[in-house]
Amino acid sequence: MIASRIARRGLILAGLALALLGAPFLAGEAPLVARREGLLCFPALAVAPMVGTSLDCPGGARVDWAAVRKAGGEGILWSKPIPYGPYASDLDSIFEPPSRRHWMGTDSLGRDVASRLVHGIPVAFIVGGLATLVALLLGITLGAFAGAGGKWTDLALSRLIDLVACFPTLVLALALVAASVRPGIGVLVFSIAATRWTGIARFFRGEVLRQRDLSYCEAARAAGAGRPYLLARHILPNALSPILITAAFSVGSAVLLEAGMSFLGLGLPPPAPSWGSILSEARDQVVPAWWLVLFPSAALFGTVLGCILLAEGYRDSTDPRITRVG
């Protein structure tokens, strides 16, 4: 039981790591192994820190692998599974349906959709994960201040939470992005986080108010624990489980929100390989390119489903009170 749980957790972590770090090895022009000037080299590893330069080909990053491929691919021993970069456009092959060359077809600039999709994975998870993290920090901090602060702090902060929660998610996020002077990943993360922290803050405030009169908190206070210590070492750990479950759900919906905003053109700036911008390509075209819709949708679906399953699995494994009723 415990062994299988550890194995499953390991599997989830490995999957996450692969999704986040795997993109440069799955898709791109630079081959995994190549021979240049009689030497074996590993151009795909050239981005690695420390050892990168010694693994790269002689001549370094100046090798234009796209051009090498066009010329017949001399010296390439082992390509990546998807030998196209996410930004490399090929105007001779725009709107190609899925084929053996392009597994998921190409878009309006002849870019390989599969490559953009794979490179979109870290984009989606970094934005979704960071936004959730910011929301967690903000929500827990403000919730703690509201719950443990004085009467007026509580009143002011609770009002603030109510106010921000009044704005519909997409409306607030879009307004924040539009109001920013320089759009980019930071603004996007902040905008998404701004719509997600209120629920966490409300919950944690309630937890603080509920727990602080329980006997173990009184005991800790009697033993001389100060307010910050009590919050950080007693109340937070007790409330952490539901917060983490919410966070897992939240990553999924943050990814969805990012995709929606990029779909509308108010997410990440255009060349970035976001799933939402692949979807928006499909909308802008008169040609019915179903592959531009199907594959990013499937990626979004998989991400959201994965987050839900992760959250439910975590809830089932941490909450012994839940018995599987129908």
Binding site: R159, L160, D162, L163, V164, A165, C166, F167, P168, T169, L170, V171, L174, A175, L176, A178, A179, S180, V181, G252, L256, A259, G260, F263, L264, G265, L266, L279, A282, R283, P288, W290, V293, L294, P296, S297, L300, F301, V304, L305, I308, V325, G326
Partner: protein, 325 residues
């Protein structure tokens, strides 16, 4: 009841002020808002003097506090200013977009409730069977599938490939055509957006109905009713559902703000001339007065929604009213 209403209304006032303040301060610095006025397409960059004139005409050069007070005072009289792009009163533009938005959202809501309540009840009654597990999986999958992706897929499949339904818009059969023809055309245009909009809440509502019903099913009054010899169907539909429906009522209130926020994507995809699309269009075109009005309206709708759900709750559950006294 009256005391409850008055207290509830009074408590809204500070929130109202807060909402207008947040909206105004947030959008006050909206970059490029002067451009919407002078930047006619193809005219090149506007001159500094033209920008100055716009700033003065719209009082952008005055202190923030004064402009905020001015705006709120006008807002109280439902004078929302004039659109920078269309040179029409904002209230008029919003009123034009509100009807299609309402029709779309209302039919989506109706569809969601009409489908999800029977489904949820039936699902709850089939505890422990294979069809129950299949339902759980199906609704989880439905819930996880993003509705705007579904909208794009359905649009491509049904409208573009098969040509069964119109691609987008409200439809425009000439006025001479019979009422029936026009209604049919409108319904055909409504079908896809309403389906896509309802479907996100559909999966949610079904799960919600089932969970609430399951909670009721173990209650003693149901055991008593069963002991009196009432049929299972009557038990589930009449006795259990009535009590399970109270939390469902509050959901109606929570779904009202979706009128604007939830339908931005769907309305944009289907070019449905509603509030959501208007919001997106104004944002990309920097139509400052419209954005300001719509953002405030969105927050007001949320506030109104939660107010409505409180009211419904109080009507449906007499205990609440008594406690309030």
């Amino acid at each position: 009841m009256a005391g409850f209403l008055v207290r509830r209304i009074l408590s809204v006032v500070p929130t109202l002020i807060g909402i207008t303040l947040i909206t105004f301060l947030l959008l006050e610095k909206l970059p490029g808002r002067e451009m919407a006025l002078v930047g006619t397409p193809g005219a090149g960059l506007p001159s500094v003097r033209a920008l100055e004139e716009v700033r003065r005409a719209y009082h952008f050069d005055e202190p923030v506090a004064g402009r905020y007070a001015h705006w709120v005072l006008r807002l109280a009289r439902w004078d929302l200013g004039e659109s920078m792009l269309e040179h029409r009163p904002v209230a008029e533009i919003i009123a034009d977009a509100a009807l299609p938005s309402f029709l779309l959202n209302f039919s989506a809501l109706l569809l969601a409730f009409a489908v999800s309540i029977p489904l949820g009840v039936g699902w709850a009654r089939r505890r422990g069977t294979a069809s129950e597990r299949a339902g759980a999986t199906l609704f989880l999958l439905l819930y996880a599938f993003p509705n705007f992706a579904a909208a794009l897929l359905l649009q491509q499949a049904l409208a573009v490939r098969l040509g069964l339904l119109p691609l987008q818009g409200l439809g425009g059969v000439s006025e001479e055509a019979g009422l029936l023809v026009r209604a049919g055309d409108f319904l055909r245009h409504l079908a896809l957006p309403a389906l896509c909009l309802s479907y996100g809440s559909l999966a949610y509502l079904t799960r919600f109905t089932r969970a609430n019903l399951l909670e009721e099913i173990g209650r003693e009054y149901l055991i008593a009713a069963r002991a009196r010899g009432l049929g299972e169907r009557l038990l589930a539909w009449k006795h259990a559902l009535r009590n399970a429906a109270i939390p469902l009522l509050t959901l109606v209130g929570l779904l009202i703000p979706a009128l604007l926020g939830g339908s931005v994507l769907i309305e944009t995809i289907f070019s449905w001339p509603g509030l959501g699309r208007l919001y997106f269009y104004s944002l990309t075109n920097r139509d400052f007065p419209v954005i300001l009005a719509l953002t405030t309206l969105a927050a007001l709708l949320t506030l109104g929604g939660s107010f409505l759900s409180d009211l419904l709750y109080a009507i449906a559950d007499p205990r609440l009213r008594r406690e309030e006294r």
